[in-house]
Amino acid sequence: MSIPRHSYFEATARRRLAGLLDAGSFREILPPAESTPSPHLASLDLPGAFDDGVIVGSGRLAGKPVLVISQEGQFMGGAVGEIHGAKIVGLLRRAVAEKPAAVLFLIDSGGVRLHEANAGLIAISEIMRAVLATRAAGVPVLALVGGSCGAFGGMGIVAKLCSAILISEEGRLALSGPEVIETVAGVEEFDAKDRALVWRVTGGKHRYLMGDCAALVEDDIASFAAAAGAWLAGQQEAGPSLAALRATQTQLENRVAAYAAYRDGLQVWAALGVQNPESVPLLDRDSLVAIKEGLPT
C-alpha cells in the first residue's frame, strides 16, 4: 500500500504547518484578521498580504509543544520586510519565556525584501540575535528547508544559526543567489540557468554530504514531520561554548584549505570519498544517506 505524498516544495506555508503538526493542534498568533498588510508595499502600489508572508503560532509535534514560524515563498519570494521580520522576532522572544520543546522554523525566503530594504536587513539582524538568544535559553531552533525559494541571503545565514537544518533534495541553501552572481561576475562564473549546476552548488544533497545540514529528507510533508520528530527526540540544546565554536572554527578552516579551489559539487564529493560522484544527482534519498553514512569522517 502506498501512502499518498504531499510535496513540501509545492505546498503553501499553511499547508506545510497543517501537515507537520499533530492534527488540530495549530494555533496561529496574530492571524490575518488581526493584522494589517505592509504599508511600505502599499506606498509602492503593490498588493500586500494580511499575514505579510509569514505565519507564526504554536502547536504540537509528536505530542511535544512547539512554536512555529512558516514563511510563504509564494508571497514576495518569502522575503523579509518590517512586519514579516517583527513577527519572527516576537515569536522567538516568546519561545525564551514559554520554553517549548523547540521552535520549528520553516524557512522559504530569498532574504531581504528589497521594497523595504533597510527594514528587512535590520529585521534579519534582529532575527539572528533572537535565534541565538532562544538557543542560549535552552530552546532548540530547527530549520526546515525545502520550499521553492530555498534559504538565501540573510535567511541563509539565519538557517546556519539554527541548532540544525533538515533539508530536502529540492531545498537550496546559500548566501548570494546564482542570478546575482551571474549578473555581477558573469555567466562564466555562475550560469544561473544551468539548473543541475545550481543544485550541485547549493542543493540539499550537496549541503547534506558536506555536513552543513543534519538530515536529508524526502520532498514530502510527512517525511519532514517524521524527521523533525526524530531530531527533537534526540536533541539537547547545549548552549554556546568556546570549545564548540573552536571545534567549528577548526573544521571550517580545514575545509576551506582542502577545497578552496573547487567550483563544482562533483569535485568536492570525489574529494570526500564518494565513489561515483556523477551518480549523486540521480540517487534516491535513502541511497544517498547510505553513502553519506559510509564516508570516512
Binding site: G90, L91, I122, L132, G153
Partner: protein, 235 residues
C-alpha cells in the same frame, strides 16, 4: 580616511594593529582600558578566509583576555560573489562569525562597531550589526543595494524610488536612514577618541533597536508587532 590616521585619531593612547588581506586585527588603548580592534578595510567583499580570520580573532580574545571590549571597524562591500565560495557554504562561515561575536557578548565582552566607509548587506549582517551598538562616520555608505539596482530588480521606476527615498528611511540608502530606524546608534561627524570611549562605556547586551527605531520615527511597526506576538494570550 585611510587606516593609519583613523587609528591615530581613535586611539591616541596607542594601538598595535595589523592588516593582512584586508582583515584588521590588533589591540589599542582607550580611556576604558585595552580593547581588541578588528574589522575589514578597502570595501572588503567578505569571503570564507576573512570571516574565519575575524572569527578566530574573536575566539582568541575571549580565551586570552576575558571581558576585553571589542571594537569593530567596518568597511565592507558585502559578501564575495563567487561560485567556489558558495560551494563551501559561505552563509555558514558568516553565521559562524556571528555566533563568535554573540558568544563574546554572552561572556561579558562589550562591543561596538564603527562603519568607516561602506557597510553593505551580508558583510554588515555577520559582523557590524552583531555588535552591541553600531556607529557610523558621516561619510559612510550604508545600504542593501543602491537605488538604481533596486529599480532594476523591483521593476519600479528609478525616479519614483528617488522621490520616496526623500521621505522614507525604509529603503533610502544612507547611514541616517539606519540611525532613524534604530540600527545605528549615532553618526559621528569625524572619528573621535572621546566619542569612542563614551560609546564603549554605554554599550550593553540588550537589543533595543526596535524601540529606538520607533522613538526616532523610522520604524513605526516592528516593536508593536514583535511585542504583540511575544505577549499574545495563547488561544
Amino acid at each position: 580616511m585611510s587606516l593609519t590616521p583613523l587609528l591615530d585619531t581613535l586611539f591616541p593612547q596607542g594601538h598595535r594593529v595589523q592588516v593582512a588581506g584586508q582583515v584588521i586585527t590588533g589591540e589599542a588603548t582607550t580611556a576604558e582600558g585595552a580593547v581588541a580592534v578588528l574589522g575589514t578595510t578597502d570595501a572588503a567583499a567578505i569571503d570564507h578566509r576573512m570571516a574565519l580570520a575575524l572569527a578566530g580573532f574573536v575566539l582568541d580574545t575571549v580565551e586570552r583576555y576575558p571581558g576585553r571590549p571589542l571594537v569593530f571597524l567596518v568597511d565592507t562591500s558585502g559578501q564575495a560573489l563567487s561560485r567556489s565560495q558558495e560551494l563551501l557554504c559561505l552563509n555558514g562561515s558568516l553565521a559562524h562569525l556571528a555566533q563568535c561575536v554573540d558568544l563574546a557578548r554572552r561572556q561579558g565582552h562589550r562591543s561596538l562597531s564603527l562603519v568607516t566607509a561602506n557597510a553593505v548587506s551580508g558583510g554588515f549582517l555577520s559582523f557590524g550589526l552583531m555588535a552591541d551598538r553600531a556607529y557610523a562616520l558621516a561619510e559612510a555608505q550604508v545600504r542593501v543595494m543602491d537605488l538604481r539596482a533596486m529599480a532594476r530588480v523591483t521593476k519600479i521606476d528609478h525616479e519614483r524610488l528617488l522621490r520616496l527615498a526623500e521621505v522614507s528611511p525604509i529603503f533610502a540608502p544612507g547611514a541616517e536612514s539606519y540611525r532613524r530606524m534604530g540600527a545605528i546608534e549615532a553618526i559621528w561627524a569625524e572619528p573621535d577618541a572621546g566619542l569612542l570611549s563614551a560609546a564603549l562605556a554605554e554599550a550593553d547586551a540588550s537589543d533595543r533597536r526596535m524601540a529606538e527605531g520607533r522613538s526616532r520615527g523610522g520604524r513605526q511597526l516592528a516593536e508593536v508587532v514583535a511585542h504583540t506576538v511575544e505577549m499574545a494570550v495563547a488561544a
